[in-house]
Symmetry: C2
Subunit: 325 residues, 2 copies
DNA sequence: GTGAAAGCGCTAACAA
DNA sequence: TTGTTAGCGCTTTCAC
């Protein structure tokens, strides 16, 4: 690796001038071109560690997500990446597995790497981000709330749960079960609440016994669905509060020889890579990519120096039958 | 952020001693504890940029994949991450979108960030990695071959294509189509070659007209399947050379009211999040996670100083009906 | 517009 | 075992 000094020597200028050329500071045209020529000849790439050490900042954004194998989060990541890219930032994707320790480790790394900011889909428990915020590094929460006073981008989870349930009621289903996520996650509570409120308002008796909690993963959804099917009075429809549990529920139904829409299925989220025929399933689509874009925009504002009070943006879900694709 | 100097002052030792404590070099027990106490009190975290600038190396591995939304690659990423984590390395995931420019940019970043090494699922065209290898930074290719003399981890693509085709023949299908990937990717050629060789050996007439090329994405698979279905003499089965095109093909079949296994479908790769009943589809499972683990292992060997000639590891695919899950 | 020089925080000789 | 010191490659005053 060549350094700024070698380029300077070759170009017949001082190191400072080379630096200026690479950072867009005013330099006379002749020197610019001789520096560029020298740099090209030496395959010079500025050393980012040195630059960061000196400037205490970088064009790197950390994105912490709980499950890289969940298409919802990869779509979100795409959104973040697209927006960040436009602004000249690169994103570093970190998979926390919903483990607070991993989350903490990555937050530490973001801090000690002098990253420009962090977008965080928080693990179940609230992490400590004070070492970042103390240094003026912005953090934006996405998809899940933190107890912290920071910008956040959420989905209207209550409405999503309500729509899913209402769609099944409208289709004539009555005993509508709900497979919800872990008890300690607020967004899950909200989606489950949408179901509960709707069912209560509808006055369906005994619906409370049709609630199950699982872990947001395929296996959890399948197990919960199997439990529900084994009930003395099984449901005739189910709402799942995320995409993967929807997949699990459908797998359980398929194994039991039950086919939607005979048995009603509504999923909060989009069924990933589904090969089911159109119109069989109700999806309440979450704007995953848009969540990412919005979070990135908020973060970029902060990086640019915006100091207004913390904002919360709530995006709407979109009710959709599975369309032919 | 506190520095090593402040910790040293508070602990009553020299900066070098603080550094030694944090890097596991021999220091007397009393000093170790006073340094640790001081560090804790100041919330000291070593500055990674400074460390990297000094040592010219880091515990960061870049993983470049062409499509973060393809579950095959996220599974691969999990494998890399798990193995790297064990060894104390963090991975930085970069999405190249199969665009050579993005790949180049990320390779440059990996270089100028002094990353310990790179695992690369190469975009279609061969990138230039000489600036990395010149500095002794190891690069390992995974899933796709490069023309370069570096370690690589591949799947036995030819066999995978052959198995998929044979399974359909064994199930009684005769006019077996093939939806293959882009023409310029070697692994695709290999998988397609497995199909072609098998069909030729079997002596089925006119099978060459049942070959289509698509872009490895869902939409491409769907379009190709629709084309095949519109043929005067449509096929009675199809092999797709990756997972997403398999999804697309199944979507097209579902839309046309055709159901496997009446129409034979064999997929090279695993159908992600499938809710189809067991036994309907043939999958030739690719060891995605294992590819990642192996690539990470090879890379870690190199990082540790291994200088043997470039190795190529070929992993076997696994023939499977969709099992009940 | 340009150069000289200091210093970001850390580690690794070298000395003691 | 410990401290002193130089320097990794860059940016940024401060002079000119």
């Amino acid at each position: 690796m060549s350094t700024i000094y070698e380029v300077a020597t070759l170009a017949g200028v001082s190191p400072a001038t080379v630096s200026r050329v690479f950072n867009g500071h005013p330099v006379s045209p002749e020197k610019v071109s001789s520096v560029r020529a020298a740099a090209a000849q030496l395959h010079f790439t500025p050393n980012r560690s040195a630059k960061r050490l000196r400037t205490q900042s970088s064009e790197l954004i950390a994105l912490l997500i709980p499950d890289i194998e969940n298409p919802f989060f990869t779509a979100l990541a795409r959104g973040v990446e697209d927006r960040a890219q436009e602004a000249g930032f690169s994103i570093v994707l970190c998979n926390t597995d919903d483990e607070p320790e991993k989350e903490t480790r990555y937050l530490d790394i973001a801090n000690s790497e002098d990253m420009a900011g962090v977008i965080l889909a928080p693990a179940a428990e609230d992490g400590d981000i004070s070492h970042l915020t103390d240094r003026g590094r912005p953090v934006v929460a996405v998809d899940r709330n933190t107890g912290l006073d920071i910008d956040s981008v959420m989905v209207d989870n209550r409405a999503a749960g309500t729509w899913a349930t209402t769609a099944l009621l409208d289709a004539g289903h009555r005993r509508i079960a709900c497979i919800a996520g872990p008890l300690d996650l607020e967004d899950t509570e909200e989606r489950g609440l949408g179901w509960r409120t709707t069912m209560r308002r509808r006055g369906e008796p005994g619906f409370e016994s049709l609630l199950r909690h699982a872990d947001y993963r395929v296996e959890g959804g399948r197990a919960a669905m199997n439990e529900l099917l084994a009930l003395r009075e099984p449901p005739d429809a189910v709402v799942t509060t995320n995409n993967l549990m929807g997949v699990g529920a459908l797998q359980a139904l398929a194994a039991a020889g039950i086919t939607p829409p005979e048995f009603g299925v509504a999923v909060v989220g989009e069924l990933p890579f589904s090969t089911l025929p159109p119109e069989a399933i109700t999806e309440v689509r979450l704007p995953a990519r848009h969540l990412g874009i919005t979070a990135a925009s908020l973060l970029l504002d902060r990086i640019a120096g915006d100091t207004q009070p913390a904002r919360t943006v709530v995006l709407r879900a979109e009710l959709a039958r599975r369309a032919a694709r």
